[in-house]
Amino acid sequence: MAQLETNINKLRRKDPDLADRLTPPPPEAGWELVHSPSGDLTAGRNLPEGFYLIHSSMDPRREAAEWLACQDIPEKMIILLGMGLGYPLRELAENTDWNSILVVEDASLFRLALAGDDFSDLIRPGIEFLIGPDPEPIEKRISRMAGPFSICAFLPAFNAHREFFRRILDTCHMRLFELRISAKDDFSETVKILLDEIRK
């Protein structure tokens, strides 16, 4: 719990409202931390269908590095949908050229992440945490995005709160679409024509 308090205290300086929201445990829980053979933590929970893991039970860091290698990140503004215990975020922050990262995560998992690892290097300017479960303020924030952005999703975390993330993803697509269409350049106009042709 000491790690959680340290992280929340650091977060309080940056986002006091969020720190307050995280101080009492959120109502939905059930996640547990599990050590992997590589020494890193993963998280899982029991579902009626069986156990559900968020990160590799063998090597979560390697998994995050492989995840990043598959991402297409052409923009310097990034929205990360689902960070789990933070491995994908750390990979993004350390190994990509970015101006800002908006991290969307559910409160229960985010709290678990803060309890599991030192986030002092990630609670910093440029990285903004948009934490559920209420999607509305997150949607409002995304709708204010001023320029094109890249969307990355970490699937196990995304699927753990699928309805919530689907809604946020739709908002991301709507905003990105508005930004691209408003450019009115040959590329964005031709994509529109292409979709008309596919529809035929």
Partner: protein, 514 residues
């Protein structure tokens, strides 16, 4: 040289482009070929050795979403935007577009240096830069009858290659063969097999179940052949009616309609000695795996354009002056072109095909006044010809050059394919494509079952068999993880438990490929 081929739909049209692959590799040494196809056809191309990278777009899903779900438009728009931007980063030297407007637009967005087969620019809209494309377009639009060149040859010409310079080709893997054998082994094994594909997409293209029934009856009564019925799930009922016909010899017909995914279908077709069909995608697949075809052409189907490509296929075509028609629904002649072709004509073609493949000759087609029989022959430089039968004077020996099936390292090949599938699945996982991940996993498990079957063979090395037994518990764990949709555990099992074993048994095959 980076080359992009664009063709996303229609199985037959996709297969008619396969001669491009060896043709381009031969012309441009070291060429890297990327192919864009629809995701429902990816399974037929994803292990083609001539394709360096296969990109699949969910075209059917997009068509549905764009038509019926306007709320999804932003998402589809962004996905296509990102897809095309990624293509642009590949910096293609040449695009061969066989998808008309869609391909033209993708070519423009990809920023290719040269485009053949139709291109687009905002200033000039849709244009055809190369003369072969313009000529083909004019032919199709105004005078199909004047065309004497197969679409496979047109594609070669459009790509800047000589018609007939390369064969239609589709690999058949050991796993395909094993699955095909399991299906076909439902009847006695020793007799040769004739496959019959009764359906074609639309009703006016169907020759009719009763006609096929008569052909099947004759083959079963007069030869020792077995019959395999092929088709989609929609054609299963018609196939069932033949299977259940008490007047037909029992135990010699297998109904595979709706039971052959594309990969299995190629294994089944390779197994068969001949396929009897209308102008279907299955017809092109048979030709691509080296199986002889007896094709029945009528209505809109025009054998010079879309006939089975390769040497020694037989095509029945009516002499009706109006064929090929443009609007069969408005036919004023009672579709004579179709009714002119009788079951006895197909049987005669079957006899002739038998005689030819036995190295003999048939003196006369004996088909009467209304129907012609053609035999196909491909020559480098001019492409495919349809030679009226029995005028065979221009070509000695029409026996089909069937590629020899060389028994390979079955276990090693399946293991190597499983490793490739694992890579694809892990990529789907990281790209958050969970549906693709689960569907690839089902296919992975199918191959793993094939592998398990192979390892039961008495000549399997004891250490490999022991190693396989040691991974069996992980296969059980994978099934449990699948149940709880636990992708992470599934991925871990593939990556850390199954893959090292597969690596061990696949390495001889991979070394050979290197």
């Amino acid at each position: 040289m980076k080359i992009l081929i664009i063709r996303t739909h229609r199985l037959g049209d996709i297969l008619q482009l396969t001669p491009l692959l060896p043709g381009l590799k031969k012309k441009y040494s070291g060429a890297e070929i990327t192919w864009i196809t629809g995701d429902n056809f990816a399974g037929i191309l994803d292990d083609h050795p001539g394709i360096d990278e296969l990109l699949a777009i969910p075209e059917r899903e997009y068509r549905y979403l764009l038509a019926d779900r306007p709320d999804r438009f932003p998402c589809v728009y962004n996905e296509m935007y990102d897809f095309c931007r990624l293509l642009g980063r590949r910096k293609f030297d040449l695009v061969i577009n066989r998808q008309y407007e869609v391909g033209s637009l993708i070519s423009f967005l990809a920023g290719a240096r040269a485009v053949r087969g139709g291109s687009y620019s905002p200033e000039r809209s849709f244009v055809m830069e190369d003369s072969a494309s313009r000529e083909l377009y004019q032919n199709v639009k105004s005078d199909r009858k004047g065309n004497r060149m197969n679409l496979a040859d047109w594609s070669l010409l459009i790509a800047g290659l000589a018609p007939g310079c390369a064969p239609m080709n589709l690999p058949v893997t050991e796993a395909d063969r094993i699955r095909a054998e399991e299906l076909i082994a439902e009847s006695e094994r020793s007799a040769p097999i004739a496959a019959v594909q009764m359906g074609a997409g639309r009703s006016f293209r169907q020759w009719g179940t009763e006609n096929y029934r008569k052909v099947i009856r004759t083959i079963l009564e007069r030869t020792n052949y077995r019959i395999v019925l092929l088709g989609t799930g929609e054609e299963k009922e018609a196939a069932d009616s033949i299977l259940g016909d008490p007047s037909l010899p029992q135990g010699r017909i297998v109904n595979l309609a709706g039971r052959t995914p594309l990969k299995t279908l190629r294994g089944v077709l390779e197994w068969c000695r001949v396929l009897i069909t209308g102008d279907t995608g299955t017809m092109h697949m048979a030709a691509a795996v080296g199986t002889r075809v007896i094709a029945i052409f009528y209505g809109t189907a025009y054998p010079w354009e879309t006939g089975p490509y390769g040497d020694g296929h037989l095509i029945l075509y009516s002499r009706n002056q109006c064929a090929p028609c443009r609007e069969p629904e408005k036919c004023g002649s009672g579709q004579k072109c179709r009714s002119a072709i009788k079951p006895e004509h197909v049987w005669r073609a079957f006899e002739i095909q038998e005689a030819i493949s036995a190295g003999g000759t048939a003196r006369s087609a004996g088909l009467g006044e209304d129907v012609d029989l053609y035999i196909t022959a491909v020559r480098e430089g001019t492409g495919q010809e349809l030679i009226p039968f029995p005028d065979r004077s221009t070509r000695p020996g029409n026996a089909l050059r069937r590629p020899e099936v060389v028994p390979g390292n079955t276990v090693g090949e399946i293991a190597a394919n499983l490793q490739k599938k694992k890579k694809d699945m892990i990529r789907s996982f990281y790209l958050a494509h969970s549906d693709a991940f689960f569907s690839e996993f089902s296919s992975y498990i199918d191959d793993l079952i094939c592998l398990a079957g192979c390892l039961q063979a008495p000549d399997t090395a004891p250490d490999i068999r022991n190693a396989f037994e040691s991974i069996l518990p992980y296969i059980g764990s994978a099934a449990a993880a699948m149940q709880s949709r636990d992708l992470v555990s599934l991925k871990d099992i593939l990556q850390y438990r199954l893959d090292p074993f597969l690596q061990e048994i696949a390495s001889p095959v991979q070394n050979e490929l290197r």
